[in-house]
Amino acid sequence: MFDIIRQSLKTGIVTTRYPAAPPEVSSRARGRPEIDWAHWKDARPAAAVCPTGAISFEDANGGRLVRLDLAKCVFCGLCAEAAPEIRMTNICLCAARQRGDLVAGARYRLNNDASHERLVAPPARATPARDEPFPAERQSLEALGLELQERAAKMFGRSLHIRQVDAGSCNGCEVEINGLNSPVYDIERFGIHFVASPRHADLLLVTGPVTRNMELALRKTYEAMPGPRLVAAVGACGCSGGIFGQNYATCGGVDSVLPVDVYIPGCPPNPHALLHGILTAIGRIQPDPATLRPPAA
């Protein structure tokens, strides 16, 4: 007993200071790719090596629309090896409330050799078209933390309870979600708890492309939750179906089955990214008259 206490004292505090300090991520970590849209000569090599179709293009009427979809990206960095205009950053905080906020795109005019050089439209989100940085950068982390406290206090009257459902994941996301309960990330310091039943939960944290064999269980879990309730789609597979996409055994991303309030890209998203996504989700909540029930006694 005393030995255990001594061991803990000797170890000291290991908890990350995030979100008060920036995420503790290696400079070599592969986060989201950054594209020099204005100077990009040819999207085809990058699109060809992208395993999930996160980089894609459409040619029409002598023009080319090129897209980067972070919801599909597995951060493998193969595109950066194929195209000098792409660089991998170590930015891992990419969560967004709208699926469209994860898509960036640009229009080009095609050259005769099917490369493209001249930028017709400035880099913009494809849907809706806006010229803004990714939302993750707009949000001040401290503001998010404050928002969490306010919203959680206002909406739930107490802390946020999360029910996690693996609807088809490879278990990579589960490795990282488990990390949230470690002393290093310690999600409970925010008053956030993982609970054993959807009936106790405010937020459903869903991983994986939803498989045909899990679709019914996922729907039932969601239906068992009291309102107001939130859904977070985790990982490339949860956000978009990822490398599995839609096939005979999978339905694709979580939003093909449930309404999603926040998308947390990554393969898998690291615990910082998960924390950021969950805090983002809480800022979003709006009471839904259909699901709002009186709080349990």
Partner: protein, 531 residues
């Protein structure tokens, strides 16, 4: 190609016994022997290989060869560990009314694999004791997804199907306790139906394949380079193990082995994968007996490895590191120093963790004699990997089929016969100690040179078996190449598929509150099983 001397002896003996019944012999590599024979003889070959050469049936799979050879082909993969060779017995199954004699009654280990073939290829297994569906649940229409005429992206209509049959134990005071597929913890989905009388469990029925994602079919639709990323997503906690087994198969098919430095870096990554998973499991086992402090220390140690992984390879789960022909990133002197420092620190701190667990009599009381897998039961079920090694299974591909850099390092394979939760934990602890030694030896001997050698385009029609001893056990990837640098078939065998049935055996007579810790002591991958 010359065969390994040991395999040549096996071939000579089988030729004497079966003569012209062996219609074709192929040895594309010295340790990989293919024999083509009649389907009726599959059982006779099985018993000949098992009785004479201790060959264990390590895998069973099919492929749709109707386009070329006008039949389905079924392969029985035997690992002859002491001879360091694999024998694959190949039998044709007619295209019309395909049927095959089941081996499950004799070899329990192939129960699920036979049913999988039945579900995915529509080959009927005659005489199977439980021929119900497993991969395709009961609400699937009649389809055979791994047949070539079935499109991978097919959208199947809703289908009500029949209700799944759960076998109930009946009698006074017997209760059924259904659990899952959505579990209470942060784990993968599966359904467990317990029948209990009072506290002890009388019977456990497993229902799996909730996370079946059509991975083997997807491999047939993707270019080989994309297949590596798909292999990383078979089981997230074994990303590097699976991707390396896949690359190993590609390299063997191409006849272009990875350069020495690549093999050394692979070994380092495989051992890092073993480190973070083993220590996380040791913690999680403690957590399931409410020894939370030990789990906190274990999670802290796991995090230190994940952060090093990120610094070495750019990804915490070692994703993006594997590539056909080698690895993608080299480690510089600073990174190698960081790795050496981590091993020193991890060794010291995991020893402290071990001592903390060992000295806690309450925790030990829960671990000892709980969930016992007797060696004879383990052998009957063909249990492999660390769970097998806690129950007398003295095999490890790193020693018996040296791959990567394992032929250049010295290590021992810890084997116990007690087979309880405690010894599955002790195997992990001992393997951690071996890993420290392996990593240090590799760092000492790290060869210079290229980290990858391009394997070029692989000709169509090649077959190859890739293998890796992952942290959980043996991982096999068997490929058959198609024109255009694509795959006609990729069979994935994760050790979890083999080991799940052990759980239904070991829980008998134990109490339900011990199920989580027993389950965690195996820590099998649902995704690796269901694919």
């Amino acid at each position: 190609m010359t065969l390994l001397p040991g395999l040549q002896v096996v071939l000579d003996e089988l030729t004497r016994r079966f003569g012209a019944e062996i219609e074709e012999v192929r040895a594309p590599r010295p340790n990989e022997l293919y024999l083509h024979t009649r389907p009726e003889l599959a059982g006779a070959f099985c018993s000949a290989l098992y009785k004479k050469h201790n060959g264990r049936l390590a895998g069973l799979f099919a492929e749709d060869a109707r386009a070329g050879e006008n039949v389905f082909l079924v392969y029985y993969l035997y690992a002859l560990d002491s001879l360091h060779g694999f024998v694959l017995v190949r039998v044709p199954v007619p295209r019309d009314n395909p049927e095959l004699l089941s081996l499950t009654n004799a070899v329990h280990a192939v129960n699920w694999q036979e049913r999988e073939i039945q579900d995915l290829f529509g080959i009927k297994l005659i005489g199977h004791p439980n021929p119900n569906r497993c991969v395709l649940h009961d609400d699937w229409p009649e389809v055979c997804p791994l047949r070539k005429d079935f499109p991978a992206r097919a959208q199947l209509p809703p289908f009500s199907g029949v209700r799944h049959k759960f076998r109930r134990v009946e009698g006074e005071g017997v209760f059924q306790v259904p659990v899952g597929p959505v579990h209470a913890g942060i784990i993968e989905p599966g359904h467990f139906l317990f029948s209990v009388a009072g506290e002890p469990v009388l019977y456990l029925q497993l229902r799996m394949f909730y996370v079946h994602k059509g991975i083997e079919k997807l491999f047939e639709t993707l270019p080989i380079a994309h297949g590596v990323r798909l292999a990383e997503s078979i089981s997230g906690d074994s990303s590097f193990g699976h991707a390396t087994a896949f690359c190993h198969a590609l390299e063997r098919a191409a006849g272009r082995p990875a350069p020495p430095r690549a093999r050394a870096l692979r070994t380092l990554c495989l051992e890092l994968e073993r480190l973070y998973n083993h220590v996380a499991d040791i913690g999680a086992i403690c957590n399931d007996v409410a020894f939370v402090t030990a789990n906190m220390h274990a999670m802290r140690l796991k995090e230190s490895v994940l952060r090093l992984n990120e610094d070495l390879t750019g990804n915490r789960l070692l994703r993006g590191m594997a590539c056909p022909g080698g690895v993608r990133f080299d480690f510089d002197a600073g990174q190698l120093r960081a790795l050496a420092a981590l091993v020193d620190q991890f060794e010291k701190q995991s020893a402290e963790l071990t001592e903390m667990i060992r000295s806690n009599s309450g925790a030990r009381d829960r671990f000892e004699t709980t969930g016992v897998l007797k060696p004879e039961v383990a052998a009957n079920l063909g249990i492999v990997g660390l769970a097998g090694r806690a129950s007398g299974f003295d095999h490890d591909l790193r020693r018996d089929f040296p791959h990567a850099f394992y032929d250049q390092v010295r290590f021992t394979v810890p084997v116990f016969t007690e087979g309880d939760v405690r010894h599955r934990m002790v195997v992990r602890r001992e393997e951690l100690v071996q890993s420290f030694g392996i990593i240090r030896q590799v760092l000492d001997k790290l060869p210079p040179g290229a980290i990858a050698a391009p394997i070029g385009e692989i000709p169509p029609g090649c077959v190859a078996l890739g293998y890796v001893e992952g942290w959980r056990g043996e991982i096999f990837h068997w490929i058959h190449t198609a024109p255009g640098n694509r795959l006609a078939r990729c069979k994935i065998k994760d050790p979890s598929l083999q080991n799940w049935p052990a759980l239904a055996e070991v829980i008998l007579g134990n109490i339900i509150p011990d199920f989580p810790v027993v389950n965690k002591s195996f820590n099998l991958s649902y995704s690796g099983t269901d694919r």
